[in-house]
Symmetry: D2
């Protein structure tokens, strides 16, 4: 049967997920919507899901018989509450990042889910659904380049707004690498160090930009991630795995090769939303298919917890300038 989805939060990403479920994906429809701003909820319903019911109480939505599974796309600090309530209601829940604003909050969710006895939570980390990262992982897993020894990565945005600060380079930007590289390597982080190069004059006074984060994994693999959010030239995600036998590099997004004005050139995207646009579809379809087959396969609450713990340490390392240990408990068998 068609899956009935309830959506909490109808901001940009929430509205986009409603559209996605109603117009692009297969097997689900949005039947219930809530937002702290009633007008926003009404508008999203009108645009994309005219038959959905608007709930004024998110907890009523979670408990409603009209809702088989929940999408949490509200303000970050409210995620923990709604995910925990969904678990309590025994309902599957897809939660946009962050799962919770702290490692501790994520831990509460992990504990509740384990107590419930079955995986109910999928975190909205979309990069493992990107065709490029999947192709890269396929090469790594094929053994063609041997075991990974080093990763050289970059996460670059053309520019950021005034509210973006030095912490957010970790919690909003690096968080994607923290998740996807852990998945890519099937390994855990054990230490972090942060280096601040010469600051770009294009950055605001309060923001240290660029940064280089050095991570070490349990297996000894070394990762360097350049974070450069005022790089001007484009939204550019790089990931290169150096293995014992060779090197594999994340594909560039496909682009027309142009010969004009004394140059061969290919366009670089400037809007982050376009970069992983295909991955959002695959991610949410996988959640829908997972719920319908009663078995989630996407990023788990534990993944959200692991990324949050590492992010907490990276922020500490920004301040200390030292190599800081990352202590993540062993992954429970429940999550294997």
């Amino acid at each position: 049967m068609t899956l009935k989805l309830g959506v909490i939060g109808t901001g940009a990403i929430g509205a986009d997920h409603i559209r996605r479920c109603m117009q692009t994906l297969s097997g689900a429809r949005v039947t219930a919507v809530n937002d702290i701003n009633a007008e926003s909820a009404a508008s999203a319903v009108k645009s994309y899901a005219p038959n959905a019911k608007v709930f004024s109480d998110p907890h009523a939505l979670i408990k409603s018989d009209e809702v088989d599974a929940v999408l949490v796309t509200s303000w970050g600090p409210s995620h923990e509450e709604f995910v925990l309530a969904s678990i309590t209601a025994g309902k599957y829940v897809f939660c946009e990042k962050p799962l919770a604003t702290t490692g501790e909050g994520c831990r509460h969710i992990v504990d509740a889910e384990m107590k419930h006895g079955k995986r109910l939570v999928q975190v909205g980390f979309m990069r493992p659904y990107d065709s490029g990262y999947r192709a890269l992982k396929a090469v790594l897993d094929s053994g063609k380049i041997g075991d990974p020894l080093m990763l050289h990565c970059a996460h670059r945005n053309p520019r950021v707004g005034k509210n973006y600060n030095t912490d957010m380079a970790i919690t909003d930007t690096l968080i994607h690498e923290l998740d996807v590289l852990r998945w890519m390597l099937n390994d855990d982080y054990v230490s972090a160090q942060v280096i601040f190069p010469r600051k770009t004059p294009k950055s605001l006074p309060h923001l240290r930009d660029p940064q280089i984060v050095l991570l070490e994994t349990a297996k000894g693999t070394r990762i360097d991630v350049e974070i450069f959010v005022n790089c001007q030239y484009g939204y550019d995600i790089q990931c290169e795995i150096v293995g014992e036998l060779g090197i594999a590099k994340l594909p560039e997004p496909s682009a027309v090769l142009l010969r004009s004005e004394a140059a061969r050139s290919e366009e670089i995207l400037t809007d982050w939303k376009e970069r992983f646009i295909g991955a959002y579809d695959v991610e949410l379809q996988d959640f829908i298919d997972g719920v319908r087959s009663d078995k989630l396969r996407g990023p788990s609450a534990w993944s959200g917890y692991a990324a949050a713990v590492a992010a907490d340490v990276c922020i500490k390392a920004q301040v200390s300038g030292a190599v800081e240990p990352i202590n993540l408990p062993a992954q429970p068998a429940f999550y294997n």
Copy 2:
């Protein structure tokens, strides 16, 4: 409301379209299925559409109240009959290529559709739905390279089966370029010439391979298409537009860049089915959306007719060795 589709023909592509409609796309479900082989129909229904009804008579399927629109994916020579029947029934119909086996057959469909008074037919040319060709057309239409003067194209397969013959290099292979380049250039073909280079020893005795087809358009643009169906190394589609100001080239499919064994390398696909796999989804979703909004936007019956007329002349040019004129009537306003 969800669109009810009837599918005639449950071979490889028919079964795949059923799966696509039921598991991937939005807004439609397969409610009726027919195949000349009843077991094949039963099997497809069992795998992908358990609630669909199996019809033993394709014409009954076309007329059934359970069917809003028809997908024709049967044996090529039967296409004309089923498309005409769908038009008679006033139902939208998506027909895999060829629309008909001859230009004349296509013309019957065009005439019937125009007499009906509204576009009902979409032909299964998927390349205009490929993200690469779309990006290329966007560059061309942007004016960045000026007006097109020449196109250099190639259509290469690693190898072909014993039943593939010299004609099929046109009707099965070049036919895709004949459609997509006409769409790309918004122009019509006025002549064709075929050149046979030194034959590859990898070809079978009865097959002349490779071939080069030279086309001229009404605006004077010159197109060369290399057809090489035993090229051994991969399935490789090339298209380069030389304009007044610059050159734009169809993107290569995205691939991991590997450094190993003394080479930088990127994988080339070898299976044609993978090359345009994304385009099939977009194509059929566009048909579904078109039917639901009562306005088709995809390749028309006229496109199918135009490609068939050009193909007929190319086959003539294979035999004559001469430059052969292509006489296509002006496109009726009905199709603009």
Copy 3:
């Protein structure tokens, strides 16, 4: 001992060769210089070869004891006379292209050289000395791509001067492909056809630009060469060999990969003089080494003759629009 060179013609390329011999290459020095314009000769001597003697009579230069070998870099129509005089004097001679302005003129030189009994003439075709063409030939000769079936080539200039006409697309531009492809393939041309695409509005009224020349070789290999001398975007030389097993493509000139302004880009040269600048050094050093070891290895008078015969037919094909046969006598054993 150091080779003593006499140079006839001190225009741009003559002066550059004097500089090259005096400041860059090993084993030779310029001892004698002549130009129809005495001031030009004096200026070249002053700049690059202060100890060289200026001859007012080119034939006196050729015969002088101060001259071991001759460089002919004078006006094209005078080449035949000076090359023949050098052969008569029994001296090695390097002649810039064209060897003679007609196939017949080249034939006189071939006959004189064969009568003399030893190779004395090297023609200034520099492309076989280009590292890119050499690498391409090495791949072809390795057998990695099997026997060549088709070549797709392009010769593009950003723009040409007012004196450039439709014939010169053959005699000044295509002539380089006619030489280098014959060397690459070790094969002879048997027919030519010329196609005129839609003319670029960037061309002058008297010039048909672009053109496509279709060549057939004795072994059946088919070559298409796009000649586009007002392409605006750069000086761009393309050569792709399609073989039985794979494809090899002439390397692009090495360039910095730039990421800036929403593009990945590499510079394309716009000045033809820079494209083969390294090849000129290698070419002339090879002539010097050949003379010193009494055995020339570079492009022979026969190569000059073969290119001239093919060029004559291409010009005929421009006018006739037909496939025109190219009849070149078998290469004498003398030139193997």
Copy 4:
């Protein structure tokens, strides 16, 4: 007049330089040769410089009237002695790296040269003569990418011999980056840190491979250099400059693009000698031209000293694991 060169040391590189001066370069000839192994000297002379005199005493060679300038290509520990002797003799001297085995030894040479009052010494760092590095510097100096903020570099060899140890990753391998990046950035190093990733199983027990060296410059630019000398796949030199406005990357060596066996590929060199082969010619010609015009322009004794000081600190950082300061005195005006 032709420059008379005396060569001390006729091992692989010494013999190659003799060949280069006698057969490829302009303006010099080798007139005197010495090697600790008399047979080696005799053999080099016989092969490439039959008229050169073999000296049994290197100091006699340095003082000889037959020698205008000296090439020191002997065993590393002897370099300091011969360079100092050349300075004492007031003769120009080209010294292969290392200038001396320690920073202190280099300092002796700097002091002697400054006391002499004129630059006489050129160090054999060839990378600033590589066309790729020059093109990269031209882009940087053009301002297109703004000021440099970060450099990501790699120095990879397919494998190394048994005698190669962890120190040599600095003194033999990184030393080239230490020189060329200082030249590229026109900046000095102020600290170094060394990180050891998971060791490749392809390395020998005594060798820690790979390593990552993190350098900081006076202007705050951060450099990471991956040193990986058993990478198996090829000899691969990478250098990417991240600037305020964009990124510029060292060109890959030019290579034929091959389509074969389901891959697009370009060859990677495996022999380091081929990678900078062109640079050796340019480097030595520049020394010859510099001597003949009485003004050296290549890497100075100070460059050799600066690289040696940084290398000494990197070795210290390998052991300490800490960020180690690099204290180089300000460059004397003498060397500007």
